[in-house]
C-alpha cells in the first residue's frame, strides 16, 4: 500500500526527471533531422507535450527513451512533409555552429557532414541514433521498428562507405 502511494506521489517527479534527462538529447536528434535550431526546438517541445499528455495512460514507464524518440521521429517526418519546410543543408549558415577556429577542423567536419549526407537515409538514421544519441542496437531497432540484424547491417554498411570515402584518414 505504501508503495502505491509513493508511486503516485512520485509521478510528477518522474516526469520532471525524464524531461530533464532527455530534453537535450531529443533536441540534438531533431536538429540533425531538421537542420534548423528553431524548428528543432519546436519539435522537441511538441514531443514532450505529447509525451506528458499521454503519461497517465502508461503505468510502466520503464523505457520512456524509445517512446520519446519515436514521437520525435514521427514529428520530424511530418514536419518535413510540410510545404513550408526548406531543408537547410548549409551548416555554415549557423555561425554559432563553428566552435573551433581551426580551419582544418572545420573543413574536416564539413567534409564528414557532406559524406554522411550522401549516404542513404536509412543509414543516416541509424548513424544518428547510434553515434549521435548513443542508443543501443536494441533501442534503435524498437524505435525504427526493424530487426536488430537490420540495424547492425546498416551501421556496418554506413561505416564501410565512410571508410571508402577515406574519412578515417588524417
Amino acid at each position: 500500500m505504501a508503495d502505491k502511494i509513493n508511486q503516485s506521489e512520485c509521478e510528477t517527479d518522474d516526469m520532471e526527471e525524464i524531461i530533464r534527462e532527455y530534453y537535450d538529447d531529443i533536441y540534438k536528434y531533431c536538429y540533425w533531422k531538421i537542420k534548423n535550431s528553431t524548428d528543432a526546438q519546436d519539435i522537441t517541445q511538441e514531443t514532450f507535450l505529447r509525451f506528458i499528455q499521454n503519461f497517465v495512460n502508461y503505468v510502466d514507464m520503464g523505457k520512456p527513451k524509445a517512446l520519446l524518440y519515436t514521437i520525435a521521429r514521427n514529428l520530424c517526418i511530418n514536419w518535413k512533409r510540410k510545404p513550408s519546410y526548406i531543408p537547410l543543408e548549409n551548416i555554415e549558415n549557423d555561425s554559432s555552429f563553428i566552435i573551433s577556429n581551426e580551419l582544418d577542423t572545420v573543413i574536416d567536419k564539413m567534409y564528414l557532414h557532406d559524406a554522411v549526407s550522401s549516404l542513404p537515409l536509412s543509414q543516416q538514421e541509424v548513424l544518428l541514433l547510434r553515434y549521435g544519441q548513443d542508443l543501443r542496437v536494441g533501442e534503435i531497432a524498437t524505435i525504427l521498428n526493424i530487426s536488430r540484424f537490420t540495424v547492425m547491417y546498416r551501421l556496418k554498411c554506413a561505416i564501410n562507405e565512410l571508410n571508402k570515402m577515406k574519412i578515417g584518414e588524417d
Binding site: I19, S96, F97, L128, G168
Partner: protein, 252 residues
Amino acid sequence: MKRNIQKKLVEMYQSVPPMPDAEGMTSIIKEAKSIKGVIPKESSLFWFVKTQIRFIDIKVWIFQILLLCMYALFVCATLQNTEGFLLLVPITPIVVLIGTSELSRSFRYRMAEMEIPTHFSLRQVLLARLIIIVAADLFTLTCLMIITALQAYTAINALILYGIVPCLVTAYGCLWIMNRCNRSYSQYYTATYSIALSVVGGISINLWPVWYNASAQGIWLLVFCLALVGFYSEVRKMLNNCSRKLECFNEI
C-alpha cells in the same frame, strides 16, 4: 580506422547550435506539473455497466445461486416427469424479488444525493443496475427452464410462457410499487407482492388447472404483452423521476 570514423561521427553529432529558447525545458516541466491533474475519463454506458457489476450486493448473486441449487435439487428429487414444469410459476417471482432491492439501494441508504452530481448521475446508476439485474434474472430463468425441461416433458413454448410471464408480471408490479410508494417502505411492499404472486401461482396449479391448458395460452400471451408494455413504461418513469432534478427531496 573504423574506430576513428566512429570517434569523428560522435564528435560531429555533438556539435549542435544552442537552443533558441533557453526556457524551453522549464516551460515544459511547468506544463507537466499542471497536466498531472488530468484524469483519464470514460463516458460510455457500456463501460459504466461493466464497472457497476462489481458493486452489486453480493447477496444478490448468492441468493440466485442458492435458489437455482435448491430448485434443481427439488426438481430432481421429487419430480419424475409430468407437469413438473408448473413449479416454474411460483419460483420466478422470487427470482425477480431478489434483484429489485438493488434498485432502491440509493434511496434506502441515502446515497442518492451524492450520486446525482456526478458524470453518470443517479439515472445511469439505476439504468445500469436494471440492466445487470434483468440480465441476471434472465440467466437464472433460463437455467430454471433448462432444469425443468430436463426433468419434465413439455412443449418449449409453454415452458417459456410459464417462466417469463410470472417474471414480467412481478417485475412490472414491483416497479409500479417503487415508483409510487415511499422509498423506505417500498421494499416491504414489493416483497409482499412477489410472495403473494408466488403463492397464487403455486395454488393455481392445483385449484385452477384450466389456466394451464393449451387453450389458455392465448391469454398468457396477452398477459405477457400487457406486462411488457407496463414494465417498459414503469422503467421510463423510474428513470425520468430520478433524473438530475430530484424533487423527492421534499420528503427530507
